[in-house]
């Protein structure tokens, strides 16, 4: 395969990774883990409707915490 084709495939995959997963892969991983665990619990007979909303709140809080820490570390005079 020529270098040009490999580069094109890499660019194509990088575009779709960026489009779907975005800046923080941990959010996407958290969503997949929450849905998979809920499906497994349902199969085991537990109606775990509460798991995804709980995971969403935890994922959002964790993503914001990471982003705010990154912003704080960029700030010249840190408060903490």
């Amino acid at each position: 395969m020529s270098e040009h084709v490999v580069r094109a495939i890499r660019r194509f995959l990088a575009f779709w990774y960026d489009f779907v997963v975005g800046d923080d892969w941990r959010v996407a991983a958290g969503v997949v883990a929450a849905l998979a665990t809920t499906a497994a619990l349902v199969r085991a007979g537990v109606d775990a409707w509460w798991l995804v909303p709980a995971a969403v709140l935890v994922s959002l809080a964790a993503a914001l915490r990471r982003a705010s820490r990154a912003a704080a570390s960029r700030s010249p005079g840190r408060a903490d």
Binding site: W49, L51, V56, G77
Partner: protein, 248 residues
């Protein structure tokens, strides 16, 4: 109620993305000529319409639970990204998207790019407009497909997106400049809330779990996501306020 939410989500998402696309098309049109810029924008809209027209009917063949799981998962990933960015901007931890600055930068690039004529068009203006509209519109096409296919209302979702495209275009023609006064971040926050709410609701249903109260759980999820977002903005604003005096 679902149809109202569906229309609102597709309309708001499309409005936000089209405001950003309009800035790029304007920059290409003003500096390089309108024919190539508008041809590029038109070609991108036609491509997006084709994507919706092809995948819309195809998604009807997927079993509803599998579709809800897939669509719910993707809506959640997109929704949490939109929501996170909008919350960080609302709490001043990230700079707001500045259409005037983006426009100035695009004009500067377009003014200095060499002229390359292909099929009778200025290729730079054509590709700039095409890429701008296509990339901004791809997420809208997904939202239209996601919301439309899970409820069997692709046409309604596409109409909402098209209404936003027409409205933004008309306002853009009247203003004849980037739409910097549109409260983009508030719109992004609203879209993030809707995507996260529907992603949570459909994703959970797709796993086979059943919401207590069935569809009546949807507004409860919506309120919970709104509250979590507002509390996050307040907490992060306080954190930002604590950081700013320390930086001075």
């Amino acid at each position: 109620m679902h149809s109202g939410f569906l229309f609102l989500a597709a309309f708001l998402a499309s409005s936000v993305e089209m405001v950003e696309a309009l800035t790029i098309v304007l920059a290409a049109g003003v500096t390089r000529g309108w024919r190539s810029a508008l041809t590029g924008a038109g070609a991108a809209v036609a491509t997006l319409a084709a994507v919706v027209a092809v995948f819309g009917p195809a998604l009807r063949l997927v079993p509803i639970d599998a579709l809800r799981l897939l669509v719910g998962g993707l809506l959640l990933v997109f929704g949490l990204q939109w929501l996170g960015k909008a919350i960080l901007r609302a709490s001043h931890l990230e700079a707001l998207h500045d259409e005037e600055a983006v426009y100035a930068l695009e004009v500067e690039h377009a003014s200095t790019a060499p002229r390359d004529e292909r099929i009778g068009l200025d290729w730079y203006a054509f590709t700039l407009s095409f890429k701008g509209v296509l990339l901004e519109g791809l997420e809208v096409a997904f939202i239209v497909l996601a919301f439309g296919s899970t409820q069997g209302r692709v046409g309604l979702a596409a109409l909402a997106a098209l209404t936003a495209v027409v409205l933004v275009t008309i306002v853009g023609v009247v203003v004849h400049g980037p739409l910097s006064r549109v409260p983009e971040n508030t719109l992004k926050l609203s879209v993030g809330v809707l995507l996260t709410t529907f992603g949570t609701f459909w994703g959970t249903e797709g796993t086979g779990a059943r919401w207590p109260g069935g569809d009546a759980a949807l507004p409860v999820v919506l309120v919970a996501v709104v509250l979590a977002s507002l509390v996050s903005v307040q907490v992060l604003r306080r954190r930002h306020a604590a950081l700013v005096p320390a930086a001075r």
